[in-house]
């Protein structure tokens, strides 16, 4: 999947927000990874594993999906004898996160509006 495929443009004003949701980003763990990487600028594998309460293997799978979509960059290195893996958000990843958060807010607003109309 390309970075463009991972970051579709914003939906047309009349379109339902769900139609613009990207499966790569719209997944709880992957959204968490993008959020942490965005706030942290750079985040280590172990920190992600602890915060998201995942096993190493599970986290690796999600990281591979995001890396293939061009949303994150993975850098492996050593600190002393200890191997460390650092994850950074790419510009496409930043855009994808912002769009996902925007769509979630739109979706919540849409659900609340529909709910209010049904209550009448």
């Amino acid at each position: 999947m390309t970075a463009e495929a991972g970051t579709p443009g914003p939906p047309a004003p009349s379109a339902h927000p769900v139609t613009g949701l990207d499966d790569v980003v719209h997944q709880r763990v992957r959204l968490g990874i993008l959020t942490i990487a965005h706030e942290a600028r750079r985040v280590e594998f172990g920190y992600l594993r602890t915060q998201l309460e995942l096993t190493g293997g599970n986290l690796s799978k999600h990281l591979s999906v995001l890396e293939e979509a061009g949303l994150i960059a993975v850098e492996k290195g050593y600190e002393g004898r200890r191997g460390r893996t650092w994850i950074t958000l790419t510009p496409a990843g930043s855009r994808a996160l912002a769009e996902e958060v925007g769509r979630l807010k739109l979706l919540i607003a849409r659900v609340e509006t529909t709910g209010a109309q049904e209550d009448r």
Binding site: R28, V43, V101, K105, L107, G115
Partner: protein, 230 residues
Amino acid sequence: MTTDSVPVGGDPRRLLSDVRALAYRVRLDQRVTWVALLVLAAVTLAAIPIDWVSLDADCGRVFAAGGTECHVRRLGLAFYWPPALLLAYTAIAVYAVRVARVRGLGARVMPYVLTGAALTVLSATAWLLVRVYLDSHPPFTLPYWGLVLDRLIGPAGTIGVALLVLAWLERHPALLVFTLGYLAVVLVPIDFGLHPQWGYLTDFLAPQIVNGAVLLLGAVGFAVARRRHR
């Protein structure tokens, strides 16, 4: 069930709430507030004896010329504060980067450090220009707004302005409130009734003790709050 069914990723409210909670957690782990305040308090308090010793008052020349205001130079503003503050900001940056790295995060303190360093250089340059001007002009009393501006571009004022940047970077409302209080103390200034009668050369003493004490109390307060939060 409404036409707006919940998407496969989960309840959007819960997803958004998770995003906010994770972002907040990361910011908490990146914060170095109490260390920054402690370092700046140490620099401020260590400046007291240095400012006192390096104070240069030229009253004779002024009185001989019929003037009533002494020409006082705080040489520490040129020789102590700029290197001390630059060193302090470097120490804060090194600490922040190391701590963040150990925790497995990137640091977000660099804009604060760069702002602090730039303001320090600006403050020292302003002091130098004012000295050059005063050396060739008779002393005069500054209007109130001039005094406020003088305090704002002084070392204590630049510490406060840089702390505003830190509060924004760390998205830290408590630090913002603390910094606004600190800036009020610096700019007004509040001396809490401390008026040592040791001559005009000690006029700076009470505000400087108060500024240092406020920073120190802030450091202790934020350290305690952090410990409780963990």
